[in-house]
Symmetry: C2
Subunit: 553 residues, 2 copies
């Protein structure tokens, strides 16, 4: 049996290694267009930034090491130019000319290529992507040979990592992002602290604006923004997204959706004997059911492994799971991460949901070093099914997002999150972990114990409601929403007549610092007969969503 | 409605706060025997050690703050001395004499008291527990007034924390633990690195030995061990375990099992209108079904909250979940944590299981700072249900244990762990996270792809098998099992004749550094017709279980 694998990075190499472990006798050939296989593609920005000093670290395996350990036949600089599924033949462009190669089973993991937006001058030699080891080496060479100014086009995960890496090397860095904020899959509440951290690092963030053209110059290029601003650059990183690299296979008859190969739950394409995995395939989102390519290393690796299972022992093969889509990025001293669906995808899918905002510390508040994070959790209206979560903060975000990713895979509701026994000592967490707290808040929302209002609604609510700020007098004085009444939650019961008078029959919309005290006040008010609601996330979320400028001091 | 709560720390205070949020009109009285309510009991060792500098930090709430925020009637120095469930009356010893107090609903959260083993001299004033704020204040006072030598009796979680705290304050510290190793609920493989770390901190660990007597002296006491050794001490910490503090309530007719109150899934005791939660109640272990008290803050807090739900809106109240029993401790620069069942409890429950050992890094190996952890995972034989997990290492242990705790709550199998989408960037994890890897190894064991052997079996296997060490020549030379044959895994296919000759028809038991290379070799050997198995955890586990002394260099 000859298994031929096209593309030797995440999915392809996992498939090859697993196939060998399952079948000592199979002939396993890996065709890689580039110079390197099984390289650390997620490490490239850190090589550019110098945290990974030695480029050899990026090369996790080599063709020689793979032959020795796993008896794999890895052929670099082998580019597949056509496929004939009827005769099971590939045409391969090699350093010594074109070859025909037959297969019994074919696995396609060609990956994706960088999107090239319609920007004049994008073919300047100062423009580069950051997708291969060679890209990273070239970029670091430019940094080490005097580049002083960089522009990063596109502030997705890789763009952000590239911007920070270049800044760490001392360059002046501008980010240009067309979407309203960096890391567009993140909610505004999470992206705002990320933007602030990028600025603290000294990176200029230009969001909500397009790059219109690149003007080549003798010493430097100039990036021209749609508002006419001009930014000089020795180095321009193109990171506006990727597109599946499937033209050859689509031409050969592999069914695709907008260029991404369609696969079934075992990774089979529409052609017999042809499997596919990784960034070039369509995944089904576990939460929304939306179908789209998911360019993440983890799912690609695991899909490759599961395809090998299906090829070599189909009766035991488990289906490739739907995608939860967990992602994470370090930004300076912050971590930002997401799992499951965000607002936009839930709205696109027509799923009704409520959003919870929490600002818990990573560990007990009484233990030194406690620092709060922002957590946003979306739950399904009605039953509280956990649909998605995002977080940002200096510590403990990765842990909570991984727990929530596991909860989403398990089909847990908010109430189920209450029951999780998470590891508690004051060094690591709280007796009520942030995830437990999210469950308590969500469960209260589901059963009606807690009625939330949102910072976005303030403008519409401020006339028709009494905005009641239950923080301390000092907190209130340091900045509050205009027109709000301050009654500290500890004085609410004795000063209820003031609230009564100020409300004048209107609803009461309560707020505090992060939502804990306003919940207590809201419960009291509700039982006293008021139409009351508690602001989700409190003033921390107000500041992120409405900005500081709105506050009265 | 008058709700009376006995005990104002974790479970009791959570019940009180939740009850108020659900019912503004209820009369809620909390009776606390001690001076403090809602104090940070898990923070006490860190106050002793000085990491928490200010004792005020330990007092999360006070009676006054609880009255202001939640209109709770908190009465300290109120000790319940009898209960009459027929007339719904308590007798309470107060600073001003005995009182009668009636209730409509009663919640018992009296907690536990320290076990006092039969050791002569235990009533010395130099012996103290570490269970209250006053204990912690007194202990730190002794440290600050010249105590130089401490002995900690009992190396459970609190004992370990106390020992490290005293060491941080510069004391000479001896730990005495009767069990074969510190932190007895941990497996040997996990406890061995903890013991080494304690010694690195300069703490003397006396394990597998009893303290027989305490001889009072003028300047110092002397702790006498069962082998006759004598250890001087200015300060002796007693932390050999706890017992539910329930004599009053058992006498009143609350059904108990070995002193712990029996409760149903809503926290109801055998007496009408009497609920109980926390350390003084029996929990059902989710994995083994074993019933025993679980002295953990998280479950206590949540049970208190759920009892308030059942009292005030029984139709909506969710059951209190069975206990997964997750626990964690920092030891110097290490974290040790556990969730679910350990070997001993699985054996006690008669559950057949396989154990997986992994030594993954906390994040991508190519990113600077990668350090390996030890993970032990028990899975049910046959279906691979995840039964329990433990870990120890410098970074990332808490995250993996929390994810595994969530997986246990979800009823996940090893195969399900493969599918988890955990947050990956080289800073935070690997494309195949340690939890995914545990799933892959476990799934391979379940379906027979991977046959494991264990370090404990070495003595029995060494004659009847060829022990094949597939590490590099240099690794082998640095220390290997006597009588083992070295063929690096990269040379296995070409040197198979050597293996054939050495095996001479016997089974082949393969090992490497941590189990990855031996798995590859094992798969090749199996397909070549050998009776082969791969050592779970490799040499790292050999060193932990058999010790370094056995190795040949």
């Amino acid at each position: 049996m000859r298994i031929v694998i096209v593309g030797g990075v995440a999915a392809g190499m996992s498939a090859a290694a697993r196939a060998r472990r399952l079948d000592e006798s199979a002939e396993i050939i890996v065709l890689e267009r580039g110079e390197h296989v099984s390289f650390a593609n997620c490490g490239l920005p850190y090589y550019v930034g110098g945290e990974i000093e030695d480029r050899a670290k990026l090369l996790v395996q080599t063709p020689a090491s793979l032959r020795e350990a796993l008896n794999l036949d890895v052929r670099i600089h082998h580019n597949v130019t056509s496929l004939d599924a009827d005769t099971k033949q590939l045409t391969v462009q090699t350093p010594t000319g074109a070859q025909q190669l037959s297969y019994d089973t074919l696995i396609l993991s060609p990956g994706a290529f960088a999107l090239r937006p319609p920007i004049d001058g994008l073919d300047s030699p100062r423009v580069s992507t950051l997708r291969t080891v060679d890209d990273a080496i070239a970029m670091r060479d430019r940094v080490e040979t005097g580049a002083r100014k960089a522009v990063v086009l596109g502030a997705g995960f890789i763009g952000i990592e590239a911007a920070e890496a270049l800044r760490m090397q001392g360059l002046e860095v501008d980010i240009v992002e067309f979407a309203p904020h960096v890391l567009p899959p993140l909610e505004t509440e999470i992206a705002v602290p990320v933007t602030a951290e990028l600025r603290r690092l000294g990176i200029t963030v230009n969001d909500g604006i397009a790059a219109q053209a690149i003007e080549p110059g003798a010493d430097r290029d100039t990036v021209i923004l749609s508002d006419g601003r001009r930014i000089d650059a020795d180095l321009i990183v193109l990171s506006v997204g990727v597109r599946p690299d499937t033209a050859v296979f689509e031409a050969a008859g592999v069914a695709c959706d907008r260029g991404a190969m369609l696969v079934d739950e075992h990774g089979r394409t529409s052609l017999p004997g042809v499997y596919a995995a990784g960034d070039a395939t369509v995944s089904v989102d576990r939460v929304t059911g939306i179908k789209r390519p998911v360019a993440l290393a983890g799912p690609a690796n695991r899909a490759g492994r599961q395809i090998a299972d299906h090829i070599l022992r189909p009766a035991q093969a488990r289906p490739i799971p739907s995608a939860v889509g967990t992602a994470i990025v370090r930004v300076g001293e912050l971590t930002a991460a997401m799992t499951g669906a965000n607002r936009a995808s839930l709205q696109q899918a027509g799923i009704e949901f409520d959003t919870l905002h929490l600002h818990p510390a990573q560990h007990a508040g009484y233990f030194p070093g406690a620092q709060s994070m922002a957590l946003v959790v979306h739950i399904r209206r009605g039953d509280g099914l956990v649909l998605g979560a995002q977080g940002v903060g200096p510590e403990g975000v990765d842990k909570r997002i991984d727990v929530l990713a596991t909860a989403i895979r398990a089909g847990f509701t908010a109430a189920d999150l209450i029951d999780l026994d998470l590891a508690y000592s004051p060094v690591y967490g709280s007796a009520k972990d942030p995830v437990n707290m999210a469950g308590m808040v969500g469960s209260n929302v589901v059963d009606g114990t807690l009625k939330l209002w949102y910072a976005e609604e303030w403008e519409a609510l401020r006339e028709e409601s009494l905005i009641l700020d239950v923080r301390s007098v000092a907190e209130f004085a340091a900045g509050h929403l205009p027109g709000s009444l301050n009654v500290p939650h500890t004085e609410l019961r004795e000063r209820i007549a003031e609230v009564e008078a100020a409300a004048a029959g209107r609803a009461v919309r309560v707020l505090c610092g992060s939502g804990v005290r306003s919940h207590i006040a809201h419960r009291a008010l509700t039982q006293l007969g008021y139409d009351s609601a508690s602001l989700s996330g409190g003033m921390v979320t107000v500041r992120a969503v409405l900005g500081d400028a709105i506050l009265v001091r």
